[in-house]
Symmetry: D2
Subunit: 346 residues, 4 copies
């Protein structure tokens, strides 16, 4: 059994991680920390866990995390980078669901995240946890940077095109729509039911932190070439789900059938990526509460613009599920262990 | 392995049954019938089942259902009653998720359901599948009448009071609220998104088919005495979930603490019924996609009206999950086998 | 023109009041106060008011409210009671949308609201603003207590029965469901989109502040007799709307037709109360964004329990619209002036 | 008073038209036709109209439409084209909310709409009713083609860029999101509450009928040059509203400030188009139930891609409201008469 600790289990990513870990056959959940909630039963805060998760939140200093095999950080940005070094030194493998180790360029990270990085030396060794790209490196990672939700959906959708070198890299467009759980479980007027329901809006058009993360991943896939990406996130009135609508211009003739074949070949053998048949329109609910990503590729009106539709559950493949997928790889388990959850639809 | 057939798998109850059965370790799903969809892949209709349920719908006559161990009917009312006798004769155990075998009084059934009953002799032997009342009879049932969604939530909430004989039986009130999936997957203007969202209404105040079913169950719990129940169902803009708010008048003094103890004792040992601590207000989402029922009991302002709050997921404990719970009992499996699904919340 | 000031315009009641007042032909909106937002354009906070409401929030001390004809308080409880006396002394008529002047029994008010009342002498003269009961007194009110949202829906639904003396007063039940805007525009985790959507729950079963207000009104209608009321509020995932399902026991035989006639007679001539035809089930959306209350009366299964369904928009007839209705009466205007807004449905 | 008839008042566009016309001070609503509902009270189908619209549906042949001044067609595509000629001959001015007269190229219309056009001669004289482009022609139109919902939002957002000639015309992208009311009030499984809520999807990526309509309008704005547009519509779980996110590549340097000025100048004096301040993200709810269009323009990261955000209420500015705006122009009334409805938000 893998002894697992969770730092910060009071947000939506945290409770989803608990839901998955509680049903994972190879995991022994040993500690959940929260300074603010120390002493409270976890299931008092999340009644959905009643009689299934019998743990109390503990203060970080009482958690004996260094005795765990793996520690997940489901914390705000800037927390894991302060604690990771000590855990790594104690032989613990760290999986950060926040952004601390996602960007290899520390200066760029500091610009986008507005703080000084506390562990630049760990950034250098950290592994970006997109298994569909990086599986071998993940296996031996000591510090795992779990991808952001938008970057997961956008990269999986664009990788086949970028890797194949068939689209222009200077005018990629990612028009992405997220459910409200992506905004986290913090009390803010903008996230109130009455503010967010029955309405639709873009946000962060001027610049969003997931932009450099996506560009880094696509640039790597393009052999280091620069990426010109316009990324516009939107808030849509639903709980879970990301729908990325991706636009790229073909630089040479590729038929719609060949595009389809390109995507199918790229993800053949991937447990969690489902390339749908030609003409499909994946719905976010078709992946709800599961670790799946569904993708469809179109070439409308025979023009030179390719449209890719990519959907995930932001809390699962976009956060907690992908983190457990990475843990499975790191500990030599079957990659899908504890993750074969059928989507809940309707 | 239990060889299972499903008749009518194209509604919400059907797809939920498939989701649960597909993950059940002791079940081999052998056939899904649908006359209208024969030949179609099940996962083409329900993309959430892609790569997990690899079956096609077959016409009923091609399904070889008589070779199954158990056949579930996830059909409209009036279908199972026509096919059950032949299956029972072939040694198949029949689990009907519709209403055909729920009412012991055939004349009353015919009045409420507006059709002639095709198998009154099976009504006599059919077992009502509320395990928390009826476990022993279920074990040997050949025809299992799976309870309605409202009747499940209402009976579980009122049984402790009625069995203990502490409330007036002539003025029980069940004010129940259901998510829209309870209305089924039929194309009707009233169930359109635009009609049902962001609004709330009662329906069927003059009389609803679940009224006699609830009264029958409570009467049985009251040793056969008559029940005077006012049952008002409502439609609330959510997908899954029933919230029953139940009102009963005490006929003798019982303190709030004793009421709490009464409920806790009644459901001690029940895997799927969770009596919450005093002062609780269960939310439907705390049982979403799970087979749990959560109950809280109140005595507001120290008056003689008891208020019970009871929540279930209508598609699980109110339909498909409870049907699988009954199958487990009927086939001697652990009652919770394949049903330990943590609620999906948020 | 009636010169109007608004104290506290940053909540949902406030912005709805602005929407209505901005279109009112006899109103000149002169000041909106908010200490926290002083200097900000109102339409920067509420873009729906852009180019229609050209005002800035001002600090209360800069608002010259005493020069208004009427001042609305769309503030938390406990604010109006501190400022009303000075305004009344200056000849301003005060309309409080909060609860400060709703309960005639100051001790009971202090018990339920948990604070000392600052103006008990004004409580004595304040008029409860339910025009369908109180129209003549409202005409000359200097301090108007605008009813709560639940009390409006519940009282209008029960008044005909209570006034006619045909139901038992000791076991009335009000099972009420509110949209989330009733919880106000404050940043609280419980009101987040992700917490409130796709779920249903009761709250405050042990005791809710609107209980004494309803009881006071019904008792008055019953000639001062005591009222035994069980009031259970629920939160339903929609923005606007209250649906009250009301249960009362007949104390003498009254046919369903006579009940219908009773309700129709009671509200004949009322502009904002619509008694629907027998067998109706009013939906909250049928009154959305309007000042209407729709009511239907049932006697299910011919039993002695009467069921009344009463729906309003909590922000309009339950708050801002009713306040403007009261203002119209107080200033001798047509009662419906500026309030003939057709419901927005869908 | 303008004597108005409505053909087909049973859909969402129809009921919204009735809501607006019922409050319009210069309109006398004389007939509403529906073959299927002839004889039924309009307010029995739409309770929100109770006591405000006192009309019955009549069969088309009983409606005496030729005695109206204006007749609105709120019908499926293909109806108006059959009846318009007779009405025009009788001196009636026809306003078609469907697509029959929107495309000038009859062959292209027949390809996209899959039927033979019944009145090509009227297509030639019909006027496209986008007042912000076409006001003078609208004034004297006998047949008015009211624009589609997506085309309204997309054209208003792109027109300033296209007219100014500052963007490439061969790679325009319109990623548009619509509320579910856009799918109409027909009983179809795909539009059920349970199917459409809490999920997000694209549809019609291969080709949508609004594509040629948008291209026609933009081409006209570009002096007849060809338009290369990728248009991807999506369904988002809300009732009303369209959010168009528009992407265009600059062909010469235009600063963000100059883009802002360009938009402000283009729509100066337009009653119903609100160019928001730099950095804004309009929400669909900020125009709910109003005839407004709100637009914001961005140039993210200083790149050469311009992003325009454009929101409307699809039932108002995208249908019924715009139709009334056109009627006002056609009959010499103030353009905003009966349309100064403040958005309902929340």
């Amino acid at each position: 059994m893998i002894k697992v600790g969770v730092v910060g289990g009071t947000g939506y990513t945290g409770v989803e991680l608990l839901r998955i870990l509680a049903g994972h056959p190879a995991v022994k959940l040993t500690a959940i920390t929260s300074r603010g909630e120390a002493g409270q039963r976890v299931s008092d805060m999340f009644p959905s866990l009643r009689r299934r998760v019998d743990l109390h939140f503990v203060a970080p200093e009482d958690a004996a995390l260094e005795q765990c095999d793996a520690v997940f950080f489901a914390t705000p940005n800037g927390v894991a980078m302060k604690q990771a070094a000590a855990l790594v030194a104690a032989g613990v493998r760290v999986i950060d669901l926040a952004a601390d180790f996602r960007l290899r360029d520390v200066a760029e990270w500091e610009k986008w995240y507005g703080m000084r990085h506390a562990a630049p030396e760990l950034v250098a060794e950290a592994v970006y946890g997109l298994a569909e790209v990086n599986r071998e490196e993940i296996r031996k990672a000591r510090v795992l940077a779990n991808p952001g939700c938008y970057p997961t959906a956008v990269q999986l959708g664009l990788l086949p095109l970028v890797e194949a070198g068939v689209v222009a890299l200077d005018c990629l467009i990612a028009d992405a729509k997220s459910g409200v759980s992506g905004a986290g479980r913090k009390a803010a007027v903008a996230n109130l039911y009455v503010e967010a329901t029955d309405s639709f809006k873009a946000y962060g058009v001027g610049g969003h932190r997931h932009l450099p993360e996506i560009s880094q991943g696509l640039s790597r896939a393009a052999g280091g070439r620069a990426i010109g990406l316009t990324f516009v996130p939107h808030l849509t009135p639903m709980v879970r789900g990301i729908h990325a609508t991706l636009y790229a211009r073909l630089t040479r003739e590729v038929s719609e059938a060949d595009l389809q074949a390109l995507f199918e070949a790229r993800f053949a053998g991937e447990t969690f990526v489902d390339v749908m048949p030609p003409g499909s329109h994946p719905e976010t609910r078709s992946v709800r509460a599961s670790n799946d990503c569904r993708i469809a590729v179109h070439r409308p009106q025979g023009g030179d613009t390719v449209v890719v539709l990519s959907v995930i559950d932001n809390l699962v493949k976009g956060a907690a599920g992908q983190a457990v997928q990475n843990m499975n790889i790191m500990f030599g388990e079957e990659e899908s262990l504890g993750l074969v959850m059928l989507p809940v639809s309707p």
